[in-house]
Symmetry: C2
Subunit: 993 residues, 2 copies
């Protein structure tokens, strides 16, 4: 605090400059206090505020609820009727009085704010009034009014009469709910309908405001009462009657009794009702302003309140009348500047220029520990405290949908890769092994891994490696399983070495560029695979294009017996067969030939598959978006959105059953035995291959290790992305440790090897995203983070293991539906990628481009260039992936990192900070340079000649750095100060342009 | 003008009340001029403005273009660089300087506005400076500055040097385009890049501002120059240097030379650059404000400008800092309050409460003329002046898409109804007649009808009538064609009688309630028909559900010869036939039976039809929405949206051709001859039926007339809806006249009868909607109206007639595609209906409901009740329509009108005015009542006791009524005045609640 004040005095000189600047007009400078908005006056007001608020800043001010009542005629009787309310945002009672408007930002007129200011200056203000009931308060208020000479004594009775008229509140339901939400922090729950009357039951003991330990003050009433005096004969008070009453808190009051804290009364003649209404809105808006409500709580006198208004006016945002229609109700914004920030830096003018944070570091939280296994121990240390919450955090309905979704993805993957592996290895590893392996590896990893949100799966490169390995063993008469076991063991060992040496530190170099390139590539592979498989069904079930319904009699397919010569090959006696009764397969099996024009066609199945595929995909997409529609309550919509995949799968499985067509179905192995009959469940390490093979397998194992390491860690980086707001930290070393252990285990059991699968992991995270439930009406829900826990993953893999027994249920799921889910996964995982957003920019004309922060800071040309580089890299990777070189594909990621390194030469660090992240050594080097420079300078003793300040890449939101800045009250003065805090100074004068 | 001033003086007394109100604080009242925002001061400022602007209000002020330049270092050299520009909305140069931000509403800080005000008060102001070139102007400005003692003489050189630094403008392209748009009204086109230099070429003669006949002043430059003085050693001017320069217009200047009209210079020390930037933004925003720019043009001295700012400040809209983030760039609103309105009523505060107009009368422009054929003559008189423009207005690319779209709709309709009529009348009227009749009736109606946007077509009720009539004639051996001719003639006569007696006045009673009920019903019929037809194809092409691809050998369908006994019936010798070679039809024709398990199935066609149907529909919907996407330039998007139907039809026709499946195709008759061979082209009126039949046909003709009258007029009301903003007026009588004439003609030719078709007419209007091309960047396009012309209609029907020769092309179009188009039409025509919006409200929770104006004024309960009544009515109509009672269906519309009448008893007129329209006699009665009352009052001589003012239903937008209100400057005062203008005062105290 001392420093703050020190800063203030230091700036006194500069502030006096403002004096001169605005003091030119002599008329202005005479009465500075009446010019709240000029710099000269701001300083005292801000100083006053700092004094008021400064002493007990830690006690949070409760959220205020404000109600505006208007005096109206109801059936010949006067009554106060609620006409608007504020819980952060304004809600008006619509005409007809039966409906709350949508919460909207209060648009005030400057006029009314100034009138309000005058009202507070002239009206009577009673702070800390000790009133037990409304009549008592009213009495005191009117008494004071008369005392002050503001009210003629003969009108006293009338005013009291009017003020004590019945209060009618708006329908209770909606308000109650929102208040219940707000009141969460305190146990106070009150019926808003009794808000005003609530003052009547006197609490046992009312303390003065001195003891600020508020327990009940969370909901405070403030009523701006405005009579329109229709019907009442003649204006009995020509002057408006203004009271501002503050009632002290009553900590002892039972919590069910509401406590109105503030009361603002404005009485006046009939003609001014519109204007008074505006004044009422102004004070109500002020009261819900975090800063002003703080001031109102702590105000000692009238001047404090005026200072509060002045501060408010100084921060106010002004829309020119020609560019905005005041009739428009402005929707509450996604985010408002926090009150804390405003409290510490009193002027917002300079902050208006500040923007969000630059990318930030990719591998957050990853630190290089020199010790042996240091990283691993750190990971365990980091993860251990969360162990319990890793389970109970899962108890939410969302987890069910996540489990179902990921489960379906996993078994589809298991079946696909199982099938492919079976083909590649002559069923040494097949669907059965795939299921078992997935279940085993998944459960172990989710239980003990560093990042349990990662889903393990077989991946393409591993598949290709296995294929090559099998072909090699077969052609060289080497026992495949034994060789594979040794490779697995070596690879496991290598992984453990990598863990022990903290090699995962390399992920520091995986920036957004690399990460996005990799994940988009994987997404594209998902999409193209899904479409390819779909297109495959058109080949598998060819459509008879020339079919003419009229010539149905012409279409047939007969099985003809082979010519006599071949008959002898048949197991049965050929002649005994009734060839016309044979099915297609049987016919071909027995050497018959199919003759006819319908033999090679299969009706309906291809089109039906397409409908199922496309239907599942588009229904999922539509239902996902349903969250943002207006229909149904938020909870239901969220449920529908969460279960969108499950619902669309169910729908289209139902449709398929209804149609009864023989579309290709999901086939799960039903018997628990190795796919190839020759092999057992355990692979023996010795005996079949020569001894040198055990050592030589070290070389192929190296390839596998690199493959697994890259695949695993980059997926982990993507999962640990800062955008996901993970709270429980990452565990790269621990992850790799378990992947290594599982490698060895799976090799022993003859199961496939597993590694993190990018797309499914992203889908897992997406299905577990949490959003805040908005508290005040109109507040936008914020993305809070991901339900980080181990249970969903464990359940998914347990279910996968159990699937062998679920075959009767699973056999109803048509494959095209699952391909549709795959397509959705691929498209959805593209969604959050900045790279994809940037590609879309190519198609948008300049003026329609969305307002991305990086577009505000980086020239479009550079953005396009950056995107283009990424596209080219991706294309190269795609081509590589499509050839046999696919096996070196994860190694190519290293190539991406090299490309990224070269980009440093083309783009300025400023641009890269916005589009990508800064590479660590740049960062480090910069820091070191800085340090060195400083050291040198210190030694030389000169410190004032540094034209190009070193780049400061903000790793945290700038907000915090702003709040650390000295709180300069005079906005004229701190221009240079806040310029210093500007995100990334454009220190490079765009030399590359 | 006199009256205005009179009003003003009359209100003087009230205004002095404000004096007292705000005069309480003695400090405030001392220097009223320094408190621009309080009521006391507003009055003089507004008065001043009225004086400045009042004398020549008719000359429109040109749109201003404002550019803000900032002094910056560029390669060691100082230069002025454009940092933002304003064409109504603000566009900032983004960091990096290569990009314009999106146009957004300028959010200013109050602070900067006040600083600006001080600047203008203290800085030097040179109005009407006669400078030919920038150096000259700069010289004069600096000279003045020195004279005024604001600038030390020794700094003069420096300032001149700085001010004459190079000016660098932002990339030219986007700015040029937008300016070209703005410059439309004048021939002035200038390169913005030269904006600043443009002052150099001196015009031959510069006149003082006295002659205000501006020709070149449409684009005016104003530069707010703000130096940040980086690098320049030491603040050479501690004081900020402010100039406001206004250069007179030069009407003689060649139009290619741009004319900068205003120049605002602000020079100051380095530290304040942020604050100066804000001041620059403030003045720039002020300059593009319509009112202030007017003031700036006409200002005579400093005080005028200050008054302008004060007025601006008074109208400013204020957002509380806690509820809005100043970083958010606010998108320009759909509509801003017009400057004219602001000019006449200087305070917006009261207008903030005003809302849009209530429904307004349904049949606008329709008046009852007592004379014989009065309405008809009025219609012709109204239509005649537009005759020429009815043709040349059609020349726009949009018309092509409209023609294609409506043409396809029409021929589909013609084929559908033709087929049905053929069934119903044993081909007395068939597809051929349908095509011819559609073409004939359509061309005649579009050429001469009152509302050429209406599309004539066969409709359901007529079809049912024909069916019943044919059955009646057949069973009673009456000649159908002759009877029909006589009914047509009678009906024609009856129509003409209705025309002559101005019976169309009844449409006054067709309010939104009736109209929406009818059009939703027709839309539902469209939708259900499309879906039914689609579902039909699943029946027509049954799918073999149990098909197993493996048993392809089992599926066959053989034609078996009939048993011997039946063979003799055959034309050919039965035994000679090769039965296995017969097609399905031939087989059945010759009495053979189809044996086999694939006979009753047709593969692929049903599913393919579904894909075509659904694909066409969803692609059209998607492409229609494409207009609102961000991709591609606006023009291209609009084109895609306009041609969406055509494009999706083409796509799916292409897909169908690619697949080569025999989906059902559009079959157009190719030969020009009556469908039934027995009949000729002309029906003879006499000879076949007894004479009394000629007279008796009057009775059924009455039914037909009512049918046609209702069908026609209600469709016309829907087309003439006020929302469509038609400018050429309606022609109900003329429409009916031609419908009658066509009745007779068609009867003679034996063609079907035609009447306005709701859904296709709506589609016609929708496809011809015009939107303003936004002039200033960021301005939202406004719906301007419909391309009202006759050409598209004529072309559609000419094409329909020609279609008989287009059969080779049309035969590629599959019917499911056209059903998809029908589905789209039905869904799209529901789009603009308020009723449909209200149905959706049922599904929305209160807080998510959109901000419809009627929801602001009518309790939700009432809205729901009203909707429910409509739903019930619709359900009843739907049931009626589905039974034989369909023939009385149009008469049921009368029932709707009766229901509407009864609603008057349940709902208040206030609610109905918002949800529906007020029925005319209510209106009339009210007016009469009012009149009577007034008369009575006049006679009694008392005029002050009228507590419940009579309802005034605004038939025109309220804006105009506001501008007619006396321009009261003191917002405090005109509260009561504007309350008088409040849309519909809630005079009924909700007695029905």
């Amino acid at each position: 605090l001392w420093q703050r004040l020190g800063q203030q005095t230091k700036n006194g000189k500069t502030c006096s400059q403002c004096w001169v600047l605005f003091g030119m007009n002599s008329a202005l400078s005479i009465v500075p206090r009446t010019l709240p908005l000029l710099c000269v006056v701001v300083s005292p007001a801000a100083e006053r505020l700092r004094y008021i608020l400064g002493d007990e800043d830690d006690a949070p001010t409760p959220t205020l609820f404000t109600e505006m009542d208007t005096l109206q005629h109801e059936g010949g009787e006067l009554e106060w009727r609620e006409s608007a309310r504020w819980v952060k945002f304004e809600e008006k009672v619509e005409e007809g009085g039966e409906r709350w408007s949508k919460p909207h930002v209060s648009t005030l007129s400057l006029h009314s704010l100034f009138e309000l200011r005058t009202c507070l200056q002239t009206g009577s203000i009673l702070l800390d009034l000790e009133g037990y009931s409304l009549p008592q308060i009213v009495d005191e208020v009117v008494e004071r009014q008369v005392e002050d000479g503001l009210l003629a004594p003969e009108l006293r009775e009338k005013v009291v009469f009017v003020l004590l008229r019945k209060h009618r509140h708006q329908t209770k339901k909606p308000i109650h709910r929102s208040l219940a939400d707000i009141g969460k922090s305190s146990s106070t729950s009150r019926l808003p309908g009794e808000a005003f009357c609530g003052l009547r039951p006197p609490g046992p003991g009312h303390h003065p405001r001195g003891l600020n330990g508020s327990s009940c003050a969370n909901q405070v009433m403030h009523d701006s009462l405005k009579p329109s005096w229709r019907g009442t004969r003649g204006g009995f008070s020509e002057l408006p009657l203004t009271h501002f009453v503050s009632v002290p808190e009553s900590p002892v009051t039972p919590s069910v009794i509401p406590c109105s804290r503030f009361l603002f009364v404005l009485l006046g003649p009939q003609g001014k009702s519109k204007s008074y209404n505006e004044i009422g809105r102004a004070i109500a808006t002020l009261m819900v302003d975090d800063l002003f409500s703080d001031v109102a709580y702590k105000a000692r006198d009238r001047e404090d309140l005026i200072a509060g208004i002045d501060e408010f006016l100084d921060e106010v945002i002004v829309l020119p009348p020609g560019e905005w229609d005041p009739k428009i109700r402005i929707e509450p914004p996604k985010k408002v500047p926090s009150a804390d920030m405003r409290k510490s830096v009193f002027s917002l003018n300079e902050l208006g220029q500040m923007n969000g944070t630059a990318g930030g570091g990719g591998g957050s939280g990853e630190s290089l520990d020199g010790r042996f296994c240091g990283g691993l121990f750190l990971d365990i240390k980091r993860k251990l405290p969360w162990l319990l919450s890793d389970f109970y955090d899962a108890f939410h309905i969302q987890s069910i949908s996540a489990v179902l979704f990921i489960y379906l993805g996993c078994i589809t993957n298991a079946i696909t890769f199982g099938g492919l592996l079976g083909d590649a290895t002559d069923n040494y590893q097949g669907v059965m092994e795939s299921f078992l392996g997935t279940a085993l590896a998944g459960v172990v990893f989710c239980c003990f891994g560093g990042q349990p949100l990662i889903i393990l799966s077989s991946t393409g490169p591993i598949l290709i490696f296995e294929k090559l390995l099998y072909e090699f063993s077969k052609s060289n008469s080497i026992d495949y399983m034994e060789l594979r076991l040794w490779i697995g063991l070596h690879s496991c060992f290598q992984c453990l070495v990598l863990v022990a040496t903290d090699a995962s530190y390399i992920i520091k170099y995986i920036t957004r560029f690399t990460e996005e390139g990799f994940s988009s590539l994987i997404s594209f592979i998902f999409i193209s695979d899904a479409i390819k498989k779909m297109a495959g069904s058109f080949k598998y079930y060819p459509i008879n294009r020339g079919y003419n319904p009229d010539y149905v009699t012409m279409y047939k397919c007969d099985c003809q017996a082979p010519t006599q010569g071949n008959l002898s090959d048949l197991p049965l006696n050929g002649t005994a067969l009734d060839w016309s009764q044979l099915s297609k397969k049987e016919c071909l099996k027995y050497g018959g030939s199919l003759v006819g024009n319908s033999c090679k066609y299969v009706p309906d199945l291809a089109l039906m598959s397409f409908i199922l595929f496309f239907g599942t995909y588009s229904m999922t997409i539509t239902l996902k978006k349903f969250k943002f529609s207006r229909y149904f309550p938020t909870k239901l919509r969220k449920l529908i959105s969460d279960f969108s995949i499950f619902m669309s799968i169910m729908t289209f499985v139902g449709l398929d059953m209804l149609m009864g067509l023989q579309t290709p179905k999901l086939i799960v192995p039903t018997e628990f035995k190795p796919t190839r009959s020759g092999r057992g469940w355990i692979v023996k390490p010795f005996g079949k291959n020569p001894w040198w093979m055990y050592l030589a397998s070290f070389v192929p194992a190296l390839l596998v290790t690199i493959l697994i390491f890259m695949d695993q860690q980059i997926s982990a980086v993507i999962v640990n992305r800062k955008e996901n707001k993970l709270k429980k930290g990452c565990g790269y070393h621990l992850d790799l440790f378990w992947v290594g252990i599982l490698m060895a285990t799976c090799s022993f059991l003859g199961l496939p090897w597993y590694v993190a699968a990018t797309v499914i992991s992203i889908a897992h995270i997406d299905s577990l995203k949490m959003e805040s439930e908005s508290s005040a009406p109109g507040e936008q829900p914020q993305f809070l983070g991901v339900r980080e826990q181990r249970l969903t993953g464990i359940l998914v893999f347990v279910l996968t293991g159990v699937s062998i027994f679920l075959a009767p249920v699973l056999q109803f799921i048509p494959m095209p539906v699952l391909y549709g889910v795959f397509l959705y996964m691929g498209v959805a995982s593209l969604g959050g990628i900045q790279f994809w957003d940037r590609i879309k920019l190519f198609l948008m004309p300049l003026k329609h481009q969305p307002d991305f922060t990086y577009l505000r800071h980086v020239p479009l040309r550079k953005v396009h260039l950056f995107t283009l580089v990424q596209i080219i890299c991706l294309a190269v990777l795609w081509i590589l992936k499509s050839t046999v070189a696919a096996i070196v594909f994860p190694v190519m990621i290293l190539g991406l990192m090299v490309v990224r390194k070269m980009l440093d030469l083309v783009f300025s660090q400023h641009d890269l900070a916005w589009l990508d992240d800064i590479l660590p050594e740049k960062d480090k080097k910069k820091k070191e340079d800085e340090k060195k420079k400083k050291d040198r300078k210190k030694s030389k003793g000169q410190d004032d000649d540094n034209p190009n300040p070193p780049v400061k890449i903000p790793m945290e939101p700038l907000v915090s750095s702003v709040s650390l800045a000295p709180p300069l009250a005079c906005s004229q003065v701190n221009a240079s100060a806040s310029e210093r805090e500007y995100p990334i100074p454009s220190f490079e004068p765009h030399a590359h342009d």
